[in-house]
Structure formats: structure tokens, C-alpha cells
Amino acid sequence: MSARLDRRSVLKGSLVLAFALAAPGVSGEAPRPKLPGDLARHPRLDAWLRIGADGKVTLMTGKVELGQGILTALGQLCADELDIELSRLTLLSGDTRHSPNEGTTAGSMSVSQGGSAVRQAAAEVRALLVGLASERLRVPARRLRVRDGTVSDPVSGGSVTYWSLVGGRTLNREATGTVTPKPASERRYVGRPVPRLDLPAKLTGEAIFVQDFRSDTLVHGRVVRAPSHGATLVEAGTSSVERMPGVLKVVRDGNFLGVIASKEWQAIKAAAALAGAVRWSEHATLPVEPHAWLLGAPSQDTVIQNTVRPAGPPPARTLEASYRRPYQMHGSIGPSCAVAEWDGDMLTVHTHSQSVFDTAEAIARMLGLPGEKVRGVHLHGAGCYGHNGADDAAADAALLARALPGRAVRVQWSRQDEHMCEPYGSAMVVKVRADVDEKGDVLDWNYELWSTPHGTRPGGNPGNLLAGRSLARPFPMPVPRNGGPPNYAADRNAIPLYAFPGQSVTTHLVTEMPLRVSSHRGLGAYANVFAIESFMDELAHAAKADPVGFRLRQLQDARAKAVIQRAAERFGWSKGRRSPNHGRGLGFARYKNLASYCAVCLEVFVEPDSHAIQVVRAVLAADAGEVVNPDGLTNQLEGGLVQSLSWSLKEAVRYDGQRILSRDWSTYPILTFSEVPPVEVVLLDRPGEPFLGAGEAAQGPTAAALANAVFEATGARVRDLPITPQRLAALRKG
């Protein structure tokens, strides 16, 4: 019972649907109820669903698969509401020609925005079709039953299929918002652990990733990247490279330098030869002490929360601390890749970008083409966890393809390119101060954070593409803006969920970016939750209170409390005696203060001589509202927890004043199998509640739980990420 994923574009040639996607029209009718999620932007039902004359149903979505299982979840929602088998459904995703533009697939919003749209669109199409069937069969609609697209009347026995009613034709209707989706009890797919639709192909080696794209005209491109930020190309001796075997073209435009060859290995060797034959002028621009630099750099300062405590008792004491996070990588296992082909009129770019529409637009502007002359088509890539090199690789391929018409140019970044050039998660500093009462509970909370930006995605602007910035007539990089409420960016989760009577939160955004930065799973929430939840642990310790009870008594949100309690119970927080050198830690947050609730409990063992930290076990409890696919959700949450442990135990980008020194997995190590603890995930399902995004919910709580567990095991409080044996040793000796 699995739907098909449309992989037409991996294979040569492409399917052109028999209808065009019209812009959402103005209906001029009475105002309709607010449509859910992305349906509000794309109310035409034909933008989402197509019933083929052959009985196939196609769901078009602007959301893309990143390994998070979104297509499976959308398929489940659609099949349930439409009353069809999942196997009847084909998903067509992230194609600028055919899909509704749903923006970027990011921020744990795909199910809440895209999923609620699909659910409503499918429910409306079903209602429409049942209405048509009722006319055709001359029986009242409410008497009709639908099974896998066949509408039948149990009384007369008459029946008619969706495809005989409308197969191959457009519906020409807009969603009304008046159809109510099914109650939970009537769903067959939603709420069940439906297996991922894309995994069989990935386990058998079918062509499904962009890396697997092949065509008869395929050639291989490589780009020679600047050795450091802001380096300029002073001399490029290209003639010897042009004579190398298989080389078709060397392309230079300002500081952009690339080569195209017939075979991949020829392209790799030619690029290496080119890199050896060019001279760059470099400057020392990187802040070796990033946190001191952040505190001193000019910043945009915004007070995002300011609640003055009503007059009351004076505080019994004041505590303060500061916390730091380094630059960290997305570190996709498959480096970025793209394939572009220019036919003299249209450019087609196959990409694993999270923002196919915006990136296609940025590429069009970079090449001076009208927007409709660049078609972006999403194909799967390795997990990205935010803005990695995907969009830049697409721009590289576009520039090379433009120089060699009629050939599909495949650009595969090297591991070193990805490590050095991907935009990192920003370094951050947090300073927090709390006035507490005599029980140790918080009266006034004062929180300040310093960070460079967390959002430099293309957004239609070629200045955000590495290639766009390196041309002879470069596109300037726009000054990024911070996110703002309700999602926030650097200050995501900076406002505490706790019911502190007095609260002041200030964001200091430094827009200068000596190291390239952008969206990294969870954005500022990772450092902010690490800081808030570490400090809560410090406050609990100062109050001689149990960290679980200390949190519960300062929370009012019942779902928040339930998640903490469930995690603590499952973990056995209050049970058993602690063994020496073992420690427990808790971390909690509601992601963005509006998405999933997540609490993490960890147990660590710290080896007393080496200070080596071993995470012994982990329990995570989450409330993601209504759950579409419990297995997919569990997989995401556990993966997020493991990834956050990797960041928090091991990861920091190494660099000197000039160059990035983390260039491979030995200079940027990540967590390995023997370091991954057993993880238990507990879901609090809330059928009937809105979907709450969960893909990034575990990042912050995990980091704090780790710091808190290490504190309980050793008595040493590490306030700098990552929490390494070296830092621990220094603190314990100090």
C-alpha cells in the first residue's frame, strides 16, 4: 500500500501535465472562511490535485522531501480525505512548473502549513466529486459511500468512479473552507506508522537522488572555490587545463572559475589542476575569538520582551551566567549537487534546494533571464538540516550550463567545498540574570543574546548565492534581517515559556558576517534553549530544589508540564540511587513557543581520569499535536536528539584568522555508532489538536540535558558548547 513518488525527472524526459497551473484568481464572491495553511495562498483545487482519466490521482505539493518523511505524511493526509488507496496516489513535489509555491520547506512547518492545506484541499475535492456523483446517480449525497475512488449507493447498488466523473479534466474550483475534514475515527492512514514511500527506492539503488540524474547529454562540472572568504582571483592560467583530456570548457567570470569535462574524474582532475594554477589574494578577516568579537561588534538591538513585575517583595538573591555556542556545520553526508541544462531558451535546474522557487528566481536574476525561463525541479539530496550548499551548487551548475548549451551539466561539490563553503550555524553569546525569591523561584528574568544572522537563503536574490557574489559584475549580498515574531530567528525561543513575573529579553543582531552563516536546524533555539535550560538547572541547584519540580512549579502551560512529567516518569527520574560519576539531566522547550513540546532526559557517565563523557541513555517525550505518522515523528525526534548530541559533544568549526581549517571529517568529527546512546521516544498524541512541527524540537533540550547531566555527574558547569573532556578538565582543575 504505497504511493508512487514521481521520479520522472531523474529519468530523461518529463511528463507535461494536461493543464496549466493558474495563478490564484480573485473570485469576487462573498468572503470565504479562512483557508488553512498554504491553501490560503493557493485556493485553486487544481493547483493541488488532479484526477487522471486512467484512475491515477496526483497530488502536487511545493513542500519537498529532505529525508524527514514529508511526502509520506502528505500522502497519508490526502488518501484519507479523498478516500483512495495510498497506492493510487502519485506525488509531484517541488517543481516550479507544476507545484504550488509553498515557499521554503523549513522551520518545522511542512505538516502544519502544507499538511493542513492538503487535508482541506482533498476534503473539498471529495465533497465536489460526491456532489457530482449524487447528480449522476440521482441519489442524495449523504447516502453515498466512497471506497478507493468509487462512489456507490448502498441502496440501489449504483456506482460511479471519480475518474469517470472528472478524469483528465480540471475542476476549475476554488476551495471554500466550508467542508469539514473527517473525524479521526474514520481515518485509515493518518495516525498510523505508514512506511516511508521513498525508502524502497533508496534501499535498492534506484535513481532517486539528484546525484543519480543521468541523461545522454550529461557532462561534469566542477568549480574552483576561493581558499578563503573574500579572496580575489589575481591570476588564472587556464590554457594548460583546457588541453587536458576530456575538458570541454573552462569558465571564468570574475572570481567564479569552473571547468566542464566529459567524464567526472576528468572534471575532478581538471579542477585540481586549475586550483594549482591560479593565484588568489587573501586577507585575514576571521575573528579568532568569535564571542569577544560578537560582544564588541556593532549590532541592531531589539527588546523583544519587556514585562515589568508588579510591585512585590524584593529579591532574596541574584544569579547570573553566560553561555556560548560556536560556529557549527550542517555537514550533510552527501555534498551538494545539481544538474542544469540550457537549451538556448529555457534553463532547467535539478536541485535538492529547500526553496526551489526562490532559488530558481535568484538564478534567473543572476543570468539576466525572465523568471519563467528558469525551471527548478526538486530531486532528493542527502539530509540538509537547514540551508547548506544546495542552492549554491544549483547556481554553479546554472552558470556552467549557460556556457555550454545543449548539455546537462552536473556539478558535484567536493567534501572540502561543502565543509568550507556551506553557511554555518552562527556562533552566539547569551547573558542571563535572575532575581529570585527566598524559595529560589524567579521574580525577574533578564536575558540578552548576541548573534550573527540565521537566514541568508537565496530568497530570489543572486547576492545570496556564492556564484552570484563572485561574478565580474557581482551581485551584492543583501543585509539579512532577523526573523521577528512569531517564529523569530537568532532569538528563536529566547523568550522563556516559564511564568516569570518580570521578564526582559534583548536581541543584539550583528549583521556583519566574517564567517558565512544561515539557517541551521533550530536556528537560535539551539543556543537559547541550551542557555535557558542550563540556567534553570543552576537556579534549581541554588534553590536546593529538584530540577523537575523546580520547572513544573514555574510553568502554567499544562501541555508543557505533561511532557516534562512524562519524560521524567519514563526515565525513572526520581527512582534509584545514583552511581558514582553518573549524572541525570533534563532539558525542555516548546519549539518556537508555538510548535511541539519536547522534554529530554539523559544519563551520562563521566570517566574520572580522562573526563570522557559517555551518554548512557536518553528519553524524549514530545507533544506534536495530532500525529500524522508516529513512526516518522519518532524517527525525526530521535534523529534530532542524536544530531544535537553530536553538535553538543564534539562540534565546532575550526579556523584561523584567514581560512577554514575544518575541511573533512577528521577536522570536523561527528558522533559515531559507538557514541550513540539508546534513545526512547514517547509521543503524547492529541487527535483533533492542530499539527505542531517537530523536526527541530529536540535540538535545544538535548544540549541542555547534556550540560545538566554532566553537572550532576561532576559538579562542573560547562557553559560553552561543545561540552568536551578538555573543557571539563579545565573546569575541574580550575
Partner: protein, 155 residues
């Protein structure tokens, strides 16, 4: 210099530049997707194939040096009738993987492990896979899939 390579039981006459790593021959000449590029320097395991049953990182070993060896890729694990290998089935049963970019390399490393040691302990599985990197955090599911396949193979 033309040479012959035996992959998944079939022999192929090839003519590529002598130093071309096996990975590019598998992917670009033979159009096999199982072996994937991850690092090119033997650090991640995404490109793992079997060479006479032993795991080999195809990204930096020249293909021309492997004439006469029996090479197996992910595609070669399936039975002649197309049935999935117990490891492939177990990975699906456990839904082991998120993006799954690393998974073919994991499956191949596991196939080599189970050949050598049909009933490995959990710790032995983790050690055997320690140099195969996964960024999505699918590690525990991968371990469970390998345990499940080992049980099935032992039956």
C-alpha cells in the same frame, strides 16, 4: 588501457583513465547508484562496496587495480529473482534511515560483517560500523535492522 571488471557477477570491458577511482566507474560507466560519493577520501563509508566479500571504499581505489576481483554493490545483493536481501528487508522493516544517503554504505558494511560474524553482538555491530557516518541520527535503527537481518539469516 582497457581492463575488465567483475561487478555483481557480470564482467565489463572498460576503458577509462587509469587512475579513475572505482566509484566513478560504478556510477558513471555502469550506472549503478548504490555506491555514493560522500567524502572521496575514505572517511565516511557512503561509497562502500564489497571486494571479494570484504568492505572496500570505492572512492579512492583505482578501478583498474581491481581486475580479477569479485565486486558487489548494493544492486548485487538482491537474489537473481529480484527478491530483496534480508538486510534490505530488515532496513525497510525497521524504517532505518531518514535521507538514506548513507544507507547503501551501511548495508554493504553490514553484509561484510554478517558474512564474517553471523551473530554479532550489538557492541560488535557498532564497532564494525563506527567509520560509516550518518548525519540524520539513524544509528539505532540501523543497528536494529542489522540485528533483525542476522536473526533471519541464522534461521
Amino acid at each position: 588501457m582497457p581492463f575488465t571488471l567483475t561487478v555483481n557477477g557480470e564482467s565489463h570491458a572498460l576503458e577509462v583513465e587509469e587512475d579513475t577511482p572505482l566509484l566513478y566507474v560504478l556510477r558513471d560507466e555502469l550506472r549503478l547508484n548504490g555506491a555514493r560519493y560522500g567524502c572521496g577520501v575514505g572517511q565516511c563509508g557512503a561509497c562502500t562496496v564489497l571486494c571479494d566479500g570484504v568492505p572496500l571504499r570505492s572512492c579512492f581505489v583505482p578501478a583498474a587495480s581491481l581486475g580479477g576481483r569479485a565486486l558487489t554493490t548494493l544492486e548485487g545483493l538482491r537474489a537473481p529473482d529480484g527478491a530483496l536481501h534480508p538486510l534490505q528487508r530488515a532496513f525497510l522493516d525497521e524504517q532505518a534511515g531518514q535521507c538514506a544517503y548513507c544507507i547503501p554504505g551501511m548495508v554493504m558494511a553490514a553484509a561484510a560483517l554478517l558474512r564474517e560474524k553471523p551473530r554479532p553482538s550489538e557492541a560488535e555491530i557498532r564497532t564494525a560500523l563506527d567509520a560509516n557516518l550518518c548525519r540524520c541520527g539513524s544509528h539505532n535503527r540501523i543497528v536494529r535492522a542489522i540485528q533483525r537481518a542476522a536473526e533471519e539469516l541464522a534461521r
